[in-house]
Amino acid sequence: MSAPTFLGLPTAPRGVGHLRGDEPFPVAARRALADTQLRRNLGRATRTIRAKRAAVVGELPDWEELRDAGQAIKAGALAHLDRYLEQLEEQVTARGGVVHWARDANDANRIVVGLVRAAGATEAVKVKSIVTDEIGLNDALAAAGITAHETDLAELIVQLGHDRPSHILVPAIHRNRAEIRDIFLREMVGVDPGLTDSPAALAEAARLHLRRQFLSARVGISGANFAIAETGTLCVVESEGNGRMCLTLPDTLITVMGIEKVLPSWADLGVFMQLLPRSSTGERMNPYTSMWTGVTPGDGPQQFHLVLLDNGRTAALADPAGRPALHCIRCSACLNVCPVYERVGGHAYGSVYPGPIGAVLSPMLTGVEDNASLPYASSLCGACYDACPVKIDIPSLLVHLRARHVDEVAETRRVPSPEAVTMAAAAWVMASPARYEAAQRGGRAGRLLGRGGRIRRLPPPLSAWTSARDAPAPPAQTFRQWWRTEHGDTGHGDTGHRDTGHGSGEGGETR
C-alpha cells in the first residue's frame, strides 16, 4: 500500500521500515516524561555533549564560514541531484563497483537480500547505519534467514536489548551503564559473569563478543556519510573501528545510501570533515574515517555494491520550502540542544529520525499525514537552528509543515479543522485594534478557569489546544490598559494603530 503523494511523487511506503510511530507524539511523550530514569540518563548525556561541542566549535575561527559553505554545497548538490547521481554511478562503476537504484524501502531490501544470497552468506556484519534502520533492513534479512550482526556498541546494546534506537549518534543514549551491564549479562553468550558496569569493561566485553564475527565475516553492510560525485568516493565516519572492520575484512561490501548524501567535489568533503565531528561527538576529529572508491585489488572487499535509495526523498525535494531538510548530515547536534528531545527522548518521535530534524524529516519522507503530530513537537525556541552545522532553519520548516498539514487536511475535509476555524477567527480579531481589545477584555474572564496561573482544560473547540498543553491564565490587566494607566491617554507609541484604524471607524479607542 502506498502513502499519499506530494506533487505527485510517492512518499516512503507504509508497512515497511521505521519512519512511523504506533501512536501520536503527545501520547508517547507523556509516557516518556513519566520515566524519571530516562530523563536522568538523557539529561546527563546531552549536558556532557553540549559542553564538548561548544568547546571544539569555539576553537575554529572560521566556523560560521564553514557552516555557510556546508549549506551552499548541499543546496548546490540538490539543485543538480540527477546529474551528480549519474556522475557518481559512472565513477563507482569505472572503479569496479556495482550501482543499484531503489525506489523505496521494499526495493532496497529486496536488492540487499539478493546480494547477500548471491554471496552465499547467511550472516552479515553491519556498520551503524540509520538508513538501513529506516528501511527495516534487519527485519527483511531475518525474514530471508540471514542474521545481521550490529557491530556499533550502541547498536549492539539496542539489538541485544530487543530495543529501538533513540538518538541519531548514540542509539542507546536512553540506557545507563548499569542497564547495559544487565543486558550484556542476560544476552551475550559466554560473557564474564563478573562483568562490572565500568564503560571500559563493557567496551571490552563488546570487543571480545564481536571479534570472531569480524574475522570470519564474508558480507559487510554499511550506510554512507558522504559520496563524492566527482571521484566516486564513499565515506564512513565512526569511532570504534567496527566500521573499518566491516568495510575492510569481508569479501563483499554492500553500502545503502540515501540519494541526498552526494557531494559534488572532493574538496567539498574537506568542509564536512570539519563540520561533522565537531557537531556530532564534540571532537576535533572522530577516531576513524574510511574513504574508498570502487574496489582496490588486494585491499578490502573485492565486490562492492552501492544501493542508491529514494524512499520519499524526491517527494521532499519537490517541496521547495521544505527541501533544506535534505541538507541534514545526521550529526545530532539539534537533538542535544533541544529542550523537548532532552525531556522526552527519541522513542516518543516514533521514527528513526528523532529530535528537531526528525520532526521535519520524518513527515517529509512519509507525507505529513502519517507523522502529523511531529511538526508540533517543538517549542520553536530556535536552539536547533543555531547548532545546525549546515544552517537548516528547522523552526521555519516546522511552521511550514504545520501549514502544509492544515492545508492538506482542509483539502480532504468538508468541515474546516478546529485549527483553521481558530486561526481564521484570530485573524479577524487581530485585524482591528478595537476587536482585539474587546477580545482581550473578554479573555480576562478566562481567569475564572485558571488555577495557579494555568488553565488545564478549555471548553470546546478550544479544548483541542489544552488537550496537549496547559494555557496560561490571562493577566488581570492587559498591556494596553497598563499603558493607559502609566502614561495617560496621550497615544504615544500607539501611532502605528492610527493608520490601521483610519477609515474603518474603529481606530479611535486610544483617544
Binding site: L153, T248, G270, G300, T314
Partner: protein
Amino acid sequence: MTARDEVLGRIRTALAGDRPEAGPPAASAAPPDGPAAPAYRTRGELDPPALLDLLAGRLADYRSHVRRTGPGQLLDTVRAALAERGARRMVLPPGLDLPGLAQAAPGQAGALDGVELITDGGLSAQELDQMDGVITRAAVAVAETGTIVLDAGPGQGRRALSLIPDYHLCLIEAAQVVALVPEAMARLRPDRPLTWISGPSATSDIELDRVEGVHGPRTLEVILIDTGTG
C-alpha cells in the same frame, strides 16, 4: 521503467522549473589557491616547528603516545618504543624504509633486538590477529585535528594491517604535516583507500563518556621525525 529511470525522473519532476538553466559547476568548492578561494581557511599560518608542536599536542590530547626524534635516531626510537611496549612479533608493510633496518621480503621475517618483524605478504585476518602490533608510515598528518591519514601507499600496506593488531606504531615525517583539513584534502588522492586516524579506537556510546579502545588498535603511538631535531 527501471528503478534508475524512475528515480532520476522523479528528481527532474521535483526540480522542474525550480533551478537555473546552466549546468552545475564542475566542482563546487574552489581549489585552495584558485581565483575564487572559499571564505573558510584553506592554508595554515604556523611555521614548521609550531606546526609539529600543535600536532604533538593534539595527538596527545586524544590519548595517542607521541615520541619526537630526528632522522638519525629513528631506528633507536623505534627500538625504544617496541621495548617499552614489550612487543615480540610485529607486522611490517612492504617498503617501510626504516634507515638502518634490512627489512625482510614479503612473507618473510626479520628481527630487531629479538623482536620478530614479519613483512606482510598476504597474512590472513586470523594471522594478523596473532601479531602484537604493526609499524607503518602515513601519507599526511593534520595538526589542527591531531589526525594521521594512511593511503595504502609505500610503507603503509593494505588497510587490514593497521586495523587488526592491537598496537599501531606510526612514523610521520615533518614534511607530511599540514595545519588544516583542506590542505590534507589537496594532498590526498581519492582513488586510494584512505583511513583517517585520530587517536586510538574509542567510543562514547555509554553515557557519552569517551572510552579508548574498542575494535581498532587500542594503543596508537606516533613518532614525529623532525629534520630540525638531531
